[in-house]
C-alpha cells in the first residue's frame, strides 16, 4: 500500500491547473476521459432527440410533424451523431480513463496528442450540426452517403465531408495513442496475456481504427472531388461506378461496427466475473476470439450490399464468411455463461446491464445471422428488420455496455457511490422500453415496411405506435443517467477503494477517487499478480 500513499501524497502537491485551463489545455488522461464521456453523453441526447423526431413522425401513418426532406435528414444525422458522436467517443473516453489505470501506467503515452484528438471533436460536430441551418438542410441521403444521391446534397455536402474528415482524424489519433500506451507503457511484469480484457479488446479495436478510418477518409475525399473537381470515381457519365463506393464504404463500415462492439465485449468480460465472484472462464480463448472477429471483419463487407448484383461465388463467399463470425462470437457468449455457472451472483446495476447485454446482443446476433443468408437478405434488405437488427446490437449491445461500464467504474472515478436503487430503475426502464422500441420493428420489417420513409401503409400502424411509445419511454428514462452521475459526484456516500467485493484488476488497487496521476511508481509484481487473477 506504500505505492498508494505515495501516489496520493504526490497528488496533493501536484499542480493541476484550475478553471477552464484545466480542461482546454489538459494532458491528463482522466480529465480528457471525462471530457470525452461528457461530450458523448451530450451527443447521445442530441442524437436521441433526432430519433424521437423520427418516432414521433412514425407514431401514426400520414405526415404529421415534419416534411419528408427533414425526416430524411433526421435519419442520416441521427446515425452520424450516434456513431461518431456518442458511441465512439464514449469508448475512447473509457479507454482514456481505464487503460492507464489497468496496465499500471501513470498516463497515456502521448498526452498532447490526446488533447488534440479530443478537441477536434467539438469542431467536427459544430460543422456537422451546423448543416441543420444551411440552405437545403442537413444531409438527407443516409449516413452511408451513397452516390449519386449524396452528391446531390446542397451546402451541407462539403460540411458533412469535412466533419467526417475531422472525426476520422480524431479517431485515428486516439487509436494511435491507445496502441502506443498499451504496447509501451505497461508496468514491468504486466505481459500481454495478463492484460485485462477491456485493454485487449481496445488494442484490437485501435488497430481496426488505424486500418479503416483512413479508407473512409479516402472514400469521402473521392465524393468531394467528384462533386467539386470533375473527377469520376463514382459518376457513371465519366466512366465511374457508384457501386464501387459501396464496396469502399463497407470495407470501412464493417470493421467499424466491430470498433463499436469489441470494447463492449471487454467491459462485459470485466463485469461478469466481478459479480459472479469467479475468474473469467477461458481468458485466452476470449483474446483469440476477439482477434478472430477483428480479422474476419475485413472480409465480410459485401454482405451489406448483396442486392447490388454480385457473382454467385461472391455472394456465397460473403455469406459463409459472415456466418463464420458467429463461431468466435459464440465462444464469447459461451465463456460468459460458463463464468456465471456456479458463481455466487449478485445483481448490482453494472451486472444487470451486462446481463441484458448478453441476452439482447445475442438476439441482435441471431437476426444478423438471418440477414447473412443471401436469399433471405434479398427480402429483408432496406426493411425495418435491418433497423431492428443493428439497433439490437448497438443499443442493448454497445450502449448498455457503456452504461454498465460507467456504473462499474464510477465509484473509482469520483470516490463516491451512486444511488444504486435509482440506477436499477434506470436499468429496468431501459431494458423494458428498449424491447418495446425495437422488437416490433422486426415484425414491421418482415411484413415489408421499408426504412427511411416518413409515411407508411396503414397495416403497419399498430406496431409503429408501440415502437414509438417504446422510443419515448426509452429516451426519457436515459435522463436518469446524467442525474444519477451528477447526484453521485455532488452527494454520493464515500466509496471504498474496492467497492465491488469480487473486483480484480489494477484499477481497484488504487485509492478511490483515483489520484490525478495513476501509477507514478509502477505497481509491484505482487499487486499485478493479485490484479491479474483471471
Amino acid at each position: 500500500m506504500a505505492t498508494h500513499a505515495q501516489a496520493a501524497a504526490h497528488d496533493d502537491h501536484d499542480h493541476k491547473p484550475h478553471g477552464w485551463r484545466r480542461w482546454v489545455f489538459s494532458t491528463n488522461h482522466k480529465d480528457i476521459g471525462t471530457m470525452y464521456l461528457v461530450f458523448a453523453c451530450t451527443m447521445f441526447f442530441v442524437g436521441g432527440t433526432m430519433a424521437l423526431v423520427i418516432r414521433a413522425e412514425l407514431f401514426q401513418p400520414g405526415l404529421q410533424f415534419v416534411d419528408p426532406q427533414f425526416f430524411n435528414s433526421m435519419t442520416a444525422m441521427h446515425a452520424l451523431v450516434m456513431i461518431f458522436g456518442a458511441i465512439m467517443p464514449a469508448w475512447v473516453g473509457l479507454a482514456n480513463w481505464m487503460i492507464p489505470m489497468q496496465i499500471g501506467a501513470p498516463d497515456m503515452a502521448l498526452p498532447r496528442l490526446n488533447n488534440l484528438s479530443f478537441w477536434i471533436l467539438p469542431f467536427a460536430f459544430t460543422l456537422l450540426l451546423g448543416t441543420l441551418f444551411v440552405p437545403g438542410g442537413a444531409p438527407a441521403g443516409g449516413w452511408t452517403m451513397y452516390p449519386p444521391l449524396a452528391l446531390q446534397g446542397g451546402d451541407s455536402f462539403p460540411m458533412m465531408i469535412f466533419a467526417i474528415h475531422l472525426m476520422g482524424a480524431s479517431s485515428i489519433l486516439g487509436a494511435i495513442n491507445v496502441v502506443v500506451t498499451i504496447m509501451n507503457m505497461r508496468a514491468p511484469g504486466m505481459n500481454l496475456l495478463k492484460m485485462p480484457l477491456f485493454v485487449w479488446t481496445w488494442l484490437i479495436t485501435a488497430y481496426l481504427l488505424v486500418a479503416v478510418m483512413p479508407v473512409l477518409a479516402g472514400a469521402v475525399t473521392m465524393l468531394l472531388t467528384d462533386h467539386f473537381f470533375g473527377t469520376s470515381f463514382f459518376a457513371a457519365s465519366g466512366g465511374g461506378d457508384p457501386v464501387m463506393f459501396q464496396h469502399i464504404f463497407w470495407f470501412f463500415g464493417h470493421p467499424e461496427v466491430y470498433i463499436m462492439i469489441l470494447p463492449a465485449f471487454g467491459v462485459v468480460s470485466e463485469i461478469i466475473p466481478t459479480f459472479s465472484r469467479k475468474p473469467l472462464f477461458g481468458y485466452e480463448s476470449m483474446v483469440y476470439a476477439t482477434a478472430a472477429i477483428g480479422f474476419l471483419s475485413f472480409i465480410v463487407w459485401a454482405h451489406h450490399m448483396f442486392t447490388v448484383g454480385m457473382p454467385l461465388a461472391g455472394q456465397l463467399f460473403f455469406m459463409l464468411a459472415t456466418m463464420l463470425i458467429s463461431v468466435p462470437t459464440g465462444v464469447k457468449i459461451f465463456n460468459w455463461c460458463a463464468t456465471m455457472t456456479r458463481g455466487s451472483l449478485s445483481f448490482e446495476p453494472p451486472m444487470l446491464f451486462a446481463l441484458a447485454f448478453l441476452f439482447l446482443f445475442t438476439i441482435g446476433g441471431f437476426s444478423g445471422l438471418m440477414l447473412a443468408i443471401v436469399p433471405a437478405d434479398f427480402q429483408y434488405q432496406d426493411s425495418y428488420f435491418v433497423v431492428a437488427h443493428f439497433h439490437y446490437v448497438l443499443v442493448p449491445g454497445s450502449l448498455f455496455a457503456i452504461i454498465g461500464a460507467v456504473y462499474y467504474w464510477l465509484p473509482k472515478w469520483v470516490g463516491r457511490m451512486y444511488d444504486q436503487t435509482l440506477a436499477k430503475w434506470h436499468f429496468w426502464l431501459s431494458a423494458i422500453f428498449v424491447n418495446v422500441l425495437f422488437f416490433p420493428q422486426h415484425f414491421l420489417g418482415l411484413a415489408g415496411m421499408p426504412r427511411r420513409i416518413p409515411d407508411y401503409a396503414t397495416q403497419f400502424a399498430d406496431w409503429n405506435m408501440v415502437s414509438s411509445i417504446g422510443a419515448f419511454g426509452f429516451g426519457f428514462s436515459q435522463l436518469l443517467l446524467p442525474y444519477i452521475v451528477i447526484k453521485c459526484v455532488k452527494a454520493g456516500s464515500k466509496a471504498a477503494d474496492r467497492p465491488w467485493d469480487g473486483a480484480h484488476g489494477l484499477e481497484w488497487e488504487l485509492p478511490s477517487p483515483a489520484p490525478f496521476h495513476s501509477w507514478e511508481t509502477p505497481p509491484s509484481a505482487a499487486i499485478i499478480a493479485r490484479g491479474a487473477e483471471h
Binding site: A109, S232, G238
Partner: protein, 185 residues
C-alpha cells in the same frame, strides 16, 4: 530514472511513426481499391462493362440459324425533362454470329448546345464478353445543338460462343448530359 524515461519516449515516437505510416497506407489503399475494383470485375467475368464502351474488332461469323436470342433495348435518363431518349425498336430476335443494326433516338431539350455521353450496361452481366459492338454512339461524346433530334445507330454481333442457357440479353443506355465530366473523358 530519466534514462529509461527517455528511452520510453523514443520508443513511443517510433511506434507512433509506424502507426501513422500504417494510417497513410490505409488511406492509399482506399484509392488503390479503385483500379483494383476494375481488375476484379474483369477477372470475375462479371461486370467488365467497360468493354461495352469500346469498339470491338470482332468480324461477323457464319450465322447460327439454329439459335434465336432476344436482345432488348432500354434507354434511361438520369433525370427527367431535359432530354428525350428512346430506342426505335424495344427488342430484336437475332441469330448469334450475324451483324445487326438498331437505332436509338435522342433529342436535346436542355435549351442550349451541349455534349452528352451514353453509358452502356448489359444484363446479365456475364454476357458482356459475348456482346460485340462494331459501332455505337456510346464510344464518343455526342454533340447536340439546341433542340436537335438525332438517330443514333448501334451495330452489334452476339458471339456464337454465347453460353447455351442464355436466350435473352438486355442492353441499356443511360444518357448523361454532364458537359464537365464528358469533356474530360
Amino acid at each position: 530514472m530519466t534514462e529509461p524515461r527517455e528511452q520510453v519516449k523514443r520508443e513511443n515516437a517510433r511506434l507512433t511513426a509506424r502507426l501513422a505510416l500504417m494510417a497513410l497506407g490505409s488511406f492509399a489503399f482506399g484509392f488503390a481499391l479503385v483500379p483494383l475494383y476494375d481488375v476484379l470485375c474483369a477477372v470475375t467475368g462479371f461486370g467488365d462493362q467497360k468493354s461495352l464502351a469500346r469498339a470491338s474488332e470482332a468480324a461477323p461469323q457464319a450465322a447460327d440459324e439454329s439459335r434465336t436470342v432476344t436482345v432488348e433495348f432500354v434507354a434511361d435518363l438520369p433525370n427527367v425533362g431535359s432530354w428525350e431518349f428512346r430506342p426505335v425498336l424495344t427488342s430484336m430476335q437475332v441469330h448469334p454470329g450475324k451483324l445487326y443494326e438498331t437505332r436509338f433516338v435522342a433529342k436535346n431539350l436542355t435549351g442550349h448546345d451541349t455534349v452528352a455521353q451514353a453509358v452502356p450496361s448489359i444484363a446479365p452481366g456475364s454476357v458482356a464478353g459475348y456482346f460485340h459492338k462494331t459501332e455505337c454512339f456510346c464510344f464518343t461524346p455526342q454533340k447536340f445543338s439546341q433542340g436537335e433530334e438525332r438517330v443514333l445507330p448501334v451495330r452489334f454481333i452476339v458471339d456464337r460462343a454465347l453460353p447455351k442457357h442464355l436466350d435473352r440479353i438486355t442492353l441499356a443506355y443511360t444518357f448523361y448530359d454532364q458537359s464537365i465530366r464528358v469533356g474530360q473523358r
